[in-house]
Subunit: 278 residues, 4 copies
């Protein structure tokens, strides 16, 4: 449906990952390889952290591949943590407020997948939001609603629990409305300190998700001419991606089904992910 | 906040009213005269009826004054009934789904004004919608929500009642939340057969609204060189507008405060408008 | 590079060919089959003839597949002749003025292909334009310049000659600048009465081009459930397309290399196309 | 016609001048005070210098006042030199390539004003460009052509001469074509080291232009609560603006007619500006 990437490490110009890799995110917008759709041209967004209190956001409705502003922004912006997303819409409008990532305070959130039966479930999911979070709903996607629900269920205090209860709410409500396998998702969540990611689906066949192996570990495996870029990443650099950014399989590790990932200071920890009662 | 016009009469090229009048709607987008804001550049929309089952819609986020597509559409489209709106946003995103008019089946709806305290009231208003109408909410404006609430309260069966109960719901909920005078509106509603319009505000000082006097009645009052256009309108032509389209005051009649207007086959009937319990 | 279609026949709602066929132009914007690029998402345009003196134009920068306005326009507009184009850019900006078709008076023009070495040749080609035609250049594509050159060389008086001299100018200038095979094109040109089309390239391997066989001839060949649509086309309906609109090969005839096509009142005539000295 | 500002000094978040001043550039987009047009809503652009070889650019077609991306970019970007422009079009298309500033290598250029009779002069001016500069023409404004002409006449070697010869070419060509007073302009030009600005018109009544007085000089004149911002500017900060950014006239000095300004390291030097033979 969509493709995304998250980066954490030494401050890096955004274009190194978004444009310059062998199979970059911008290239994926035109020609994704292991996606259910090869074209992800229904808008895009990038959020980044810097010296400011809140992360910056640039979101557009046009395809990433033909946006000159995006290229300039990515060349001129260096960040130790950023989250970028290219969209293939599943029925909702092409507008900036439906482009990912979504922002709430320090938090950024993006999603690949969908809620099956969302037309049936939308109101029931939305009414579970507090008035403040309901007001914060600026678009109409299932993805934004998933983020707001996770916030509603405590994401800011405990990311795992917030996401697990959100998933639980979607599945509970879906099944109550005759949708047996309502949830299909990979999620990327950042707070400026850590990347959290989830690969999960009710049916147990989730969209693809990978993360880079520890750079220090893979350094010797890769061709010398590419090491410079790795060095630039810093020793603690990790990327989490919908699909690998190049043709070097030894650089990428597939995230297993039903997994919750935490990336912090170059370390990647995994935990099984299971929905919880909302 | 915004400006709009509705037309009913003989099939007319849209550009005659949207571009060619002395003080046209497109000119108002750049320089409205009796609006609270002179610039209405936050998107626009036009809906028109023809041989098709449902009205056509063209909505954009750019200012009406610089949209070449709008000009071509208006030159090439003839319609016996159309509704056009230029937007000055009051806090919600500039996106097509927030441009007026809004469409539901055969119905079109546009609004000038706002719900005061909408940030407090949004969730409470939205949860009153049926799941089907909630799903139909594609944008995030107070205006669209007013339309969906009116549909929820029976607008399709009885326009007056649907709108009066919507207004009642907004005022009741507003006052319960400490907003004494929550509603400010002029509304334009069409179903392909009739134009309905309302001028109302909780505070009793509503945005401006006018309608053309019966063309056959005013024919002799106006300069000969403009009569050709009037003839083209047909004998039953009526326009309802936020502000007059020219400097001929004898052509325009101000709609009084708290009034519900029905335009049908060239006739304009008035009725007092008062909110009703939802 | 791009895909296009032209229609001439009984007045038809534009959406029948642009949206509703098995392999419609909108589907080709996301997934073209026999194009050098599968995605044609860098804007689009449609021009149509009606009761007005000049054809109408709707051009946008977003992909055709996600433009709600285009869908409404195509449902609500009926025309006996229209020309639609989806763009895959070859280096020039994504802006409405670079979307095809281009308009000059009653004439519309669209192009699939490119001028090789255009960066070298642009100024030399442009200075051949008369001041009036130079001023009419509102975008920066090789395609628009080809149209203006053809106008410069007399297209309005004799379409074949205008296009042949334009092609001659491009090849002459290209070769003088070391570009041996500068021209690659299929062209669609309309004046409201006839469709003219060309398939030509300096290298002799041109982009694909097809036209429908005479409808009366193919009527019995196709499934009964699709005949209604054919009937709607009228007996004189012809479509010229970059690639077939369905999987019925018997409906489509490939246009040979180096061919100039004229479609008039349902008849298709062919003539060899060869560049002429400018 | 348009409004612009240039800043040179200590690295400053762009939003301090573009959004946060009493009468900021974004406010001027909706409500300019001493412009020939109060609304400057036909697109905008900002260029900024940083650690990269070339300046960054963000240009859009929507009004500056309603672009959420611009606000984020300005909050998150700090620069010691930037140039921002809001556009009121004078007949050419609303597209990113027609938004200012224009970029060529390290150089940025913006313009307020117009070439009278541009429709007559466009081709003659354009053919004076070298093929390389002609190719670099990505839009269709008189402004971009003025920049390319100045480059053609040596702006990179000697800014004054390049601009004076450009002005000479426009006036010479204008008068040869019956346009007595063809040029109306204020110009902002930057190379990352200096701001150059010109106020000039053939008729001797040019668009307004101001620059801030030396900050160290005005420090004691202004209210204590605003000094913090001035301190942030650094001792060498200078802004050049189409109209003052606040209601403190003692902060701003009007640039006289026919003046060429150079801003370098906080110092402002003036020189009379007179067109030269091209």
């Amino acid at each position: 449906m969509c493709r995304w990437l998250a980066y954490s490490g030494g401050a890096l110009p955004l274009n190194e990952l978004i444009y310059n890799t062998q199979h970059s995110l911008v290239e994926q917008s035109l020609d994704a390889r292991i996606s259910t759709q090869t074209t992800n041209g229904d808008g895009f967004g990038v959020g980044w952290y810097d010296h400011c209190e809140f992360p910056g956001l640039y979101k557009e409705t046009r395809p990433a591949w033909n946006d000159a502003n995006l290229e300039d922004l990515c060349v001129h912006t260096r960040s130790p943590m950023f989250l970028a997303h290219i969209r293939a819409a599943t029925g909702t409008a092409i507008q900036r407020t439906n482009s990912h990532p979504f922002r709430y305070g320090r938090w950024l959130f993006c999603h690949n997948g969908l809620i099956h039966g969302f037309s049936t479930l939308r109101r029931e999911l939305a009414v579970r939001l507090s008035p403040d979070l309901f007001l914060h709903m600026t678009g109409t996607t299932d993805s934004e609603l998933m983020f707001l629900l996770a916030l509603n269920y405590g994401l800011q205090d405990d990311v795992y629990t917030g996401l697990a209860r959100m998933a639980g709410a979607v599945e509970e409500l879906g099944r109550a409305n005759g949708v047996e396998q309502p949830l299909q998702m990979t999620l990327g969540v950042t707070d400026g300190e850590r990347i959290y990611a989830v690969r999960y689906s009710s049916i147990g066949k989730s969209r693809s998700l990978y993360h880079s192996r520890s750079l220090s570990a893979v350094r010797d495996l890769i061709p010398p001419e590419r090491r410079g870029l790795l060095d630039a990443f810093g020793e603690e650099a990790v990327t989490v991606v919908s699909e690998p950014l190049d043709d070097l399989p030894e650089l990428w590790e597939e995230v297993p089904e039903a997994t919750f990932l935490t990336v912090e200071k170059g370390g990647v920890t995994r935990r099984e992910f299971a929905p919880e009662p909302p």
